[in-house]
């Protein structure tokens, strides 16, 4: 549940908010990541008015209200200051009308003044709220950046996720989070993972204990967040399972309805998991550049056998 109080505390400074009235209403819930400029509603047109939006009044609205006669002014203000309105913000440091302050105080709607223009406020608030309301999920796994590719390493406990990540750090790659990854869907299209504040850049290695990666390997070895480009699942080697040997088919996994390339990597003594993860990441980059090793080879092979004369190697 996201309250006006949260917006005020977390982003009040950035938005330049100054609370003028309706302090008791700070616990009002924000339900929509949208902002309402009440121009038409103030003029009396109410069809399709969405009262759950935060109301931003600019210079025009204030000027218009000033021109109305006091009775009308109050009436129109009552229309936009509904019981579900989360908050009202006056832009450009404008002084809200007396009636507005009174009404907000009486009906416990927080009234703020901001020093930026209404348009800037509108876009900033929408951006912040969309960010806040974007679907998120906590996953078990380790998120690392390998050659600029965000790789989420998953797998059962004690399969060696943390050890693989440690190997990657040693080779100059970066850790975002170990064990717990907060995943957020951004702009409805891609995923960004980060670590929880409390355990950020900490790792637990069996037999050693808790280590701080940022202290051990330096600031260059960590990152705050990173887009998740692919998911690799580490698995104990199973002789019954048939592992991908050619890489012609690409697998995907759905996280928050976003499809992410997915690899299953069997682990067994003698397999250098860090090196394999590096290879997967590089291959992913290569595919992004339009080159698919497996497909390219397949095409070459088909071409070779379709030639009439025998290929002399």
């Amino acid at each position: 549940m996201y309250l006006v109080q949260h917006l005020y505390e977390q982003h009040g400074k950035f938005l330049g908010l100054d609370l003028l009235a309706g302090k008791k209403g700070l616990n009002r819930r924000i339900r929509k990541a949208e902002v309402n400029r009440p121009g038409l509603s103030l003029a009396g047109y109410l069809k399709g008015l969405i009262s759950k939006r935060i109301v931003v009044v600019g210079k025009q609205e204030i000027e218009y209200l000033k021109e109305l006669d006091p009775k009308m002014r109050k009436e129109r203000l009552k229309i936009i200051l509904t019981p579900t309105t989360p908050a009202v913000i006056a832009a450009r440091g404008l002084r809200p009308l007396k009636e507005m302050v009174e009404l907000c105080e009486k009906s416990h709607i927080p009234l703020f003044r901001a020093n930026t223009s209404a348009t800037a406020l509108q876009s900033r608030i929408t951006f912040l709220l969309l960010e806040e309301f974007s679907p998120s999920l906590t996953l078990h796994g380790t998120l690392v950046e390998v050659f600029g590719v965000g790789v989420l390493i998953q797998g059962e406990s004690s399969v060696g996720k943390s050890e693989a990540a440690l190997g990657l750090l040693e080779r100059g790659h970066r850790l975002i989070s170990d064990d717990v990854v907060r995943v957020k869907k951004k702009e409805g299209a891609y995923l960004v993972g980060s670590g929880p504040e409390l355990t950020r850049h900490l790792m637990e290695i069996r037999g050693i204990g808790i280590i701080n990666v940022a202290h051990l390997y330096g600031a260059v070895s960590v990152r705050h967040d990173k887009a998740i480009d692919l998911v690799v699942k580490l698995e104990e080697w199973d002789d019954q399972h048939f592992y991908d040997r050619v890489g012609l088919e690409e697998k995907f996994i759905d996280i928050l309805d976003v499809s992410v390339p997915y690899h299953i990597l069997p682990v067994k003594p003698g397999r250098d998991v860090s090196l394999l993860l590096e290879t997967i990441a590089l291959n992913h980059r290569l595919k992004g550049m339009g080159y698919n090793s497996a497909k390219e080879f397949n095409a070459k092979w088909l071409e070779a056998i379709s030639r009439k004369r025998r290929v002399i190697s």
């Binding site: 406990s157 004690s158 064990d179 717990v180 900490l202 790792m203």
Partner: protein
């Protein structure tokens, strides 16, 4: 088999590093998958970092979900651990 139960943290300092390590130790011989849900996060209880991330204070209510063949016994042992504040003095 799936068992879900609510437990209360009895340790005066909450679920800090030592009780978190005790939980891992209790779970080690068991095969079932164990999840803790606290506030809006659900985590794997076999990971120390995940338990610590919850930052569960004293008296916090945690929903424990155990799923697997030995769910019943795993849950019993876990609850006993929580009840005894994982051997810490109150």
């Amino acid at each position: 088999m799936k068992v879900v139960k609510k437990v209360k943290v009895k340790n005066s300092l909450g679920l800090h590093t030592r009780p978190a390590a005790s939980i891992i130790k209790i779970l080690q011989p068991h095969k079932s998958s164990v999840c803790f849900t606290y506030k809006d996060a659900t985590i794997n209880a076999r990971s120390i970092m995940s338990i610590l991330m919850l930052a569960a204070k004293r008296n916090a209510q945690i929903v424990v979900t155990v799923d697997g063949d030995d769910a019943e016994i795993t849950m019993q042992k876990l609850i006993a651990g929580f009840e005894s504040a994982f051997g810490e003095r109150e």
